[in-house]
């Protein structure tokens, strides 16, 4: 391979209950990111690794701290008040610098819950540290693993979903019901096309509020949102769970391309970095 002068570098966090790091990293590699590192949260908090080295931060799914205080609550608390090294900068400042430099963040499932609870999305008024929406218990009151159809807002600024109209992916969560923090926020999300992905009918034409197509009762059928830059994106369904056609629940009865639909999210991110950030 011809060495590139500048390389796309992705970081995938793990530790404290994260559990989708392997497949998230696999998605980044298949999308041809040049460097993909799986890094323990404490390696960052102890200053061995900094986010500054990377372009794409992946926050995978899992059960951070067991979701004991509510999904990703304890982890958000951990990161919000952590300092890097014994007396270093606040981790929050490192993260804000990463965002300010125009880099990308993707949170899937528990990673989405973490982003929301840290306030990284939707972050209206550029306030990346204030929680404005939430994700809470599914209306069914239970964890569910099931595949859902997602209609993508093509007008959304989201970089990860460029060129995607609809996508079929699994959800695997107990706390995925999206609730905006008031009518004002709900309106802004809609007006600014920040509702990137909605639970929909199988032909991706309209959003659905009925169970089980909408698996959790999310307001406005919201499955994923981004910030106004489109560079920070989180959603409950798992694109990293559909990287290969054999992941599809009906691959033995349908003609499917080799590549799974989830890979496009990672390809979009890597392509954007190559074009805009290198």
């Amino acid at each position: 391979m011809v060495p590139r002068k500048q390389r796309v570098k992705a970081i995938v966090l793990y530790g404290y209950g994260i559990n989708c790091e392997t497949e998230m990293a696999h998605g980044c590699r298949l999308a041809e990111a040049d460097v993909v590192d799986i890094v323990h949260m404490n390696e960052i908090l102890q200053g061995e690794v900094t986010l500054d080295q990377y372009h794409l931060l992946n926050l995978p799914g899992g059960f951070l701290d067991g979701d004991d205080l509510g999904a990703a609550k304890a982890a958000a608390n951990r990161l919000r008040y952590a300092r890097v090294g014994a007396r270093g900068e606040r981790f929050q400042d490192q993260l804000l610098r990463f965002i300010k430099e125009g880099k990308l963040i993707f949170g899937g499932c528990n990673g989405f819950q973490l982003m929301v609870k840290l306030g990284l999305i939707p972050a209206f008024d550029g306030s990346y540290d204030t929680q404005q929406v939430t994700l809470t218990f599914n209306d069914s009151g239970r964890f569910e693993d099931r595949w859902v159809y997602l209609k993508i807002d093509e007008k959304s600024p989201c970089i990860f979903t460029r060129g995607i109209k609809g996508v079929y992916l699994p959800v695997r969560h107990g706390e995925g019901k999206f609730i905006p923090g008031g009518e004002e926020i709900r309106k802004k999300l809609k007006q600014r096309n920040l509702i990137v992905a909605q639970y929909s009918d199988p032909s991706f034409t309209h959003e659905v509020m009925d169970y089980p197509l909408n698996p959790n009762g999310s307001i406005d059928a919201v499955a994923g949102i981004c910030d106004e830059s489109g560079r920070l994106f989180g959603m409950m369904p798992h694109p990293e769970a559909y990287l290969h056609f054999t992941n599809h629940p009906r691959w033995t009865r349908e003609d499917l391309p080799e590549e799974g639909m989830g890979l496009a999210f990672f390809r979009n991110a890597v392509e954007y970095i190559r074009e805009e950030l290198l």
Binding site: G15, Y16, F63, L69, G141, E144, A241, P249, R253
Partner: protein
């Protein structure tokens, strides 16, 4: 002063958990309530200022969008009854632990060791209920008194300003730490009393062996050198009792058995385990020669086989029956996270890639009166399901395969089988990964959780039936996140070569883990160094505690610095507890003083062999003479709605079966993602197509007739499920998990000789059929006291074996699922149907057992499986479904409705012998049969592939959604819409 922070939902937010509870109060208890609301309570036993409490309450403890909080005042306002449920002292409180850590992080302080957070939940119930109804909700649904406490407050006694005083369930132990010395030169009666009082489960011959050991001159002299007298210490006695327990030593499987068969012919079997299980594996390995897959069998925590040149697979299944009987949720949670540590502690340590679970319960609508100490089967079902959900999902391991079996007799003891598979590079730093051993001079290191009184006597107590005084310390609640952090740390340490050996702390705690590891060398264990959850534990309790989430390692002294540093970096507790030695002794110290000194040889090999009798006599049930219905449509629907046949979707959906992204054949397949898969296929290495195929077989109903055939059928079922999706029979291994009622003849068990004969027969079948199929067992487990005995009530489970199979598919893209694919596809039956309805689901539905139990013809079956493997490889098969419970009728209907397609079937074309009735033909449970559909253009190649095998082209897949069957007389006997059949199948346990 302790504080209470209460967190409730804002008024416009839906309380999904409260609503779910309301539904369960209605469904499970037949009580109507208007509403249930929940409030989370944190009781903070720490010195915090009002400002600090505020920062915590509106920080990590509450969500600003959905929740509100109150500090030292109640949120509860309108309700008819208030119930608050919290833990008892010493019970693992995972949320409390996370909350404590969150306080420290939020405030930037370090709390004192005794400053803790305790959680509880308030339920606010509105509705027209009297106190007995509320108590029913507590005792029947919300509270397990072994681990929880509760308070009930009616609205008229509520002080809306003061609320409840904080309750701090701090552990207080008043005992003086001491080592008791016990004279063993006492009467036999006194010895047995000692065994009973201390839950030692030691028999008289075993006590005699201990007495004799302590009289030996060399023993007296050596013990004297370390200040020990002629009496045994409680540390030694407890260590011996647990090492010698049925649970750890498998005394029945290793005993000397005189077996007499029906003709009166007697033989002596020296160890069922060595003769039949290990013996079969040795025979198979010998025959396979260069094709042998086994790398490490029966001598580590799990079996290890070759996956390919670069990787090895590890697999183990365990049971956790008694803990689940006492606390379904906690028992199942520790069951799954406990078995995770087996493959994790095998060889140098494996990455965990799948979980499996099989449950045996009494039916959820059980309406007979329940004897004392038993939970209603519905509650056991829900609790166990949820425990495995939390354990598996939070550990990030997909639950890919399982089964649920219902029978009234499991009311006495539910069976909860939990299994885990792992993968490891075949070599780590140039050394084979499945081999390990500690070296003298290595340090004994314990990692993970801390030690409390949890689980003390688990090993000895699971070696007894469930009785009035079954100890409640045996109940514990697992902590999957602490374990996950530890496994991540240890895998890293493994790859850096920071330890020589690893094993888990399960039954018997340190006594077992260190005792086993040091078996061939010796050790010096310093108990006072062990990190404790709370003060006040006696040395023997530290040694025996089965507190969860702990591994024991042998670390070279040169590596200890980097090992401990890495642990600290990854936020995992690791403590040096002593050294491995070359003395051949288990040397235990506390505070510098020797408190136990035993020969390793005696500890591990001093146990006298048990001598037992087994006598077989067939029960000889009659075949029933059933009236024959002209139309079998309703009969088929009735069969599809049987608990043993119906959809288990509601359980499967709540388990993450896809994490790690290697999922190829999921537990639910077909047009609407709801058909019942025969086996699971995963790709553990994401850039390879090689797949692992996992399946199971279990058929306890056949045990009522003959356990020999029960075992044969379980093996065949596991293998054929595996083959159905594409698992190669020549690359397949098995695991045996026996669960038996007490088979030792005694006053309590007057039919012990019969039950032991049942065990002998099952073992004979295991030998006969694993060798015939060439599928060796690589590991297994037995649980031998699955009885309930209180007062005069005895409930014994039917003898039950779960046989698990792990196979390989070279190219996962060739895997086949069970759903009919296209209209016009041809429907074939592979294998001959015989009149074998003894123990069948059909007879059970009609109220009979019968006698013609299915018998396996292994040679024929093996040939069929090989051919099917080849046909699958060649892409000839569109769908393949195994025939098991409910026979052809059920398997055909499932194939059709999973594909949402109709079917026209002619029973006259079914290859059969000696079956002259439509109902018997449809529902016979003859083994080694499949329903296969193929594309019509493959007909010629397909029929050639199965030349010489009994098969029949029985019909066609149709676009019209009608399932039609013509009987032997040529008349239509079934006509149903597949949607109605599916509905009948999905209704009983919901989705």
């Amino acid at each position: 002063m302790p504080h209470r922070i209460e967190i409730g939902l804002k008024s416009h937010i839906r309380d999904a958990l409260g609503e779910k509870l309301k539904r369960r109060i209605r469904d499970d208890l037949n009580l109507e309530v208007k509403s249930v609301n929940t409030i989370s309570v944190y009781t903070i036993d720490a010195d915090l200022s009002p400002e600090q409490l505020e920062m915590v309450a509106n920080g990590p403890f509450s969500d600003p969008i959905t929740q509100m909080y109150a500090i030292d005042r109640p949120l509860a306002q309108s309700f008819d009854w208030l119930i608050e449920v919290g833990f008892r002292p010493g019970v693992t409180d995972n949320v409390g632990k996370t909350a404590r850590e969150a306080i420290e992080l939020r405030l930037g302080v370090q709390l004192k060791d005794q400053e803790r957070v305790y959680t509880s939940t308030q339920y606010l119930i509105k509705g027209n209920l009297e106190r007995p109804g509320v108590e029913k909700i507590c005792n029947g649904l919300l509270v397990n008194p072994l681990v929880q406490r509760f308070e009930i407050i009616p609205r008229h006694l509520w002080n809306g300003r003061r609320g409840l005083e904080p309750t701090v369930p701090r552990v207080k132990i008043d005992q003086k730490i001491q080592v008791e010395e016990i004279g063993l030169q006492i009467t036999d009666r006194a010895l047995l009393k000692l065994s009973h009082d201390r839950v030692l489960a030691l028999s008289l011959p075993e006590f005699k062996a201990i007495q004799a050991y302590f009289k030996k001159d060399s023993v007296i002299r050596e013990r004297g050198e370390f200040g020990l007298g002629g009496k045994i210490t409680d540390v030694e006695l407890e260590a011996l009792a647990q090492t010698w327990s049925e649970h750890c030593k498998h005394k029945i499987f290793n005993g000397l058995i005189e077996y007499t068969d029906e003709r009166g012919e007697a033989e002596v079997i020296d160890s069922l385990f060595n003769t039949y299980i290990k013996g079969a594996t040795e025979t198979i390995r010998g025959k396979k020669g260069g094709e042998d897959l086994c790398l490490s069998v029966f001598d580590d925590n799990a079996g290890v086989i070759k996956f390919n040149d670069s990787y090895s697979l590890v697999f183990k299944v365990e049971t956790h029956n008694t803990p689940c009987a006492l606390d379904p949720y906690g028992g199942a949670l520790t069951g799954i996270v406990g078995v995770n540590r087996d493959p994790f502690g095998t060889g140098k340590g494996a990455k965990l890639i799948f979980n499996v679970d099989t449950f045996c319960f009494a039916p959820p609508h059980y309406s007979k009166p329940l004897p004392p100490r038993l939970f209603h089967p519905k509650r056991v079902y829900e609790g166990v399901r949820e425990g495995v959900e939390h354990g598996g999902n939070k550990s990030g391991i997909p639950t890919i395969n399982g089964c649920v079996v219902f029978d009234d007799r499991y009311a006495g003891k539910p069976l909860v089988y939990c299994g885990t598979g792992g993968i490891m590079p075949s070599k780590i730093r140039g050394e084979p990964s499945h081999i390990k051993s500690p070296l003298p001079g290595d340090l004994i290191v314990m990692t993970g959780g801390r030690i409390g009184k949890d689980g003390i006597h688990g090993a000895t107590f699971s070696s007894e039936e469930l009785h009035e005084e079954s100890p409640t310390t045996a109940v514990q609640i697992g902590d999957p996140i602490t374990q996950k952090k530890m496994t991540e740390f240890l895998l890293k340490a493994r790859d850096l070569g920071l330890y020589h050996s690893i094993t888990d702390n399960g039954a018997g705690g340190l006594s077992s883990s260190v005792g086993e590891m040091a078996r061939h060398i010796g050790c010096r264990l310093e108990l006072e160094k062990a990190p404790l959850k709370y003060a006040g534990l006696n040395p023997w309790e530290i040694l025996l505690s089965e507190a969860q989430e702990r591994m024991t390692l042998a670390v070279a002294s040169s590596e200890i610095e980097p090992f401990l540093q890495l642990a600290e970096k990854m936020d995992v507790e690791a403590t040096v507890l002593g050294t491995f030695t070359d003395t051949g002794k288990l040397h235990v110290l506390y505070g510098g003083r020797t408190v136990g000194y035993l020969d390793m040889d005696f500890l591990h090999a001093g146990l006298p062999k048990m001598r037992l009798k087994a006598t077989w006599k067939s029960k000889g049930f009659q075949e029933p003479q059933l009236p024959m219905d002209e139309d079998l449509t309703e009969t088929l629907q009735g069969m599809l709605s049987r608990f043993n046949i119906c959809s288990k979707e509601s359980i499967i959906r709540q388990y993450d079966h896809e994490v790690q992204a290697g999922s190829v054949v999921k537990p639910l397949v077909g047009k609407e993602n709801d058909g019942p898969s025969d086996a699971a296929v995963i790709r553990p290495i994401l850039d390879s197509y090689e797949g692992v195929v996992v399946s199971n077989g279990i058929c306890p109903r056949y045990s009522d007739i003959d356990t020999y055939h029960m075992m044969a059928c379980a093996i065949d079922e596991a293998i054929r499920n595996n083959v159905a999706v594409g698992g190669r029979i020549d690359r397949m291994v098995g695991l045996d998990n026996f669960c038996w009622p007490d088979p030792i003849q005694s006053e309590k068990t007057p039919d012990g000789e019969y039950k032991l004969a049942q065990l002998v027969r099952a073992n004979k079948a295991l030998y006969d059929f694993t060798t015939a199929f060439g599928v060796p067992c690589i590991s297994g487990k037995d649980s031998m006291k699955n009885d309930y005995l209180i007062g005069k009530t005895k409930i014994s489970i039917p003898p039950t074996v779960l046989f698990s199979a792990m196979g390989k598919i070279d190219d996962a893209r060739k895997a086949v699922t069970m759903d009919a694919k296209r209209p016009g596809d041809l429907v074939y039956i592979l294998g001959e149907t015989l009149n074998e309805l003894g123990g069948s689901e059909y007879y059970a539905m009609r109220g009979y057992i019968g006698n013609n139990v299915p018998k396996v013809d292994a040679e024929k079956a093996k040939e069929l499986y090989r051919r099917l493997n080849k046909a699958t490889e060649e892409g000839l098969i569109a769908s393949c479904h195994d025939c098991s419970d409910g026979g052809l009728g059920v398997a055909l209907a499932e194939t059709a409705f999973a594909g949402m397609l109709g079917m026209e079937i002619d029973l006259g074309k079914v290859p059969a012998a000696g079956v002259d009735r439509d109902d018997l033909l449809l529902f016979s449970e003859t083994q080694s049969r499949f329903i296969v559909t193929i594309s019509p253009d493959k007909k010629k190649a397909f029929e050639k592939a199965f030349e010489g095998i009994a098969y029949g082209l029985v019909g066609e897949v149709t676009l019209a959604s009608v399932f039609k069957t013509t009987g032997l007389s040529g008349r239509e006997i079934i006509r149903a819409d597949i949607r109605d059949l599916k509905e009948a199948w999905k209704r009983p346990l919901g989705t």
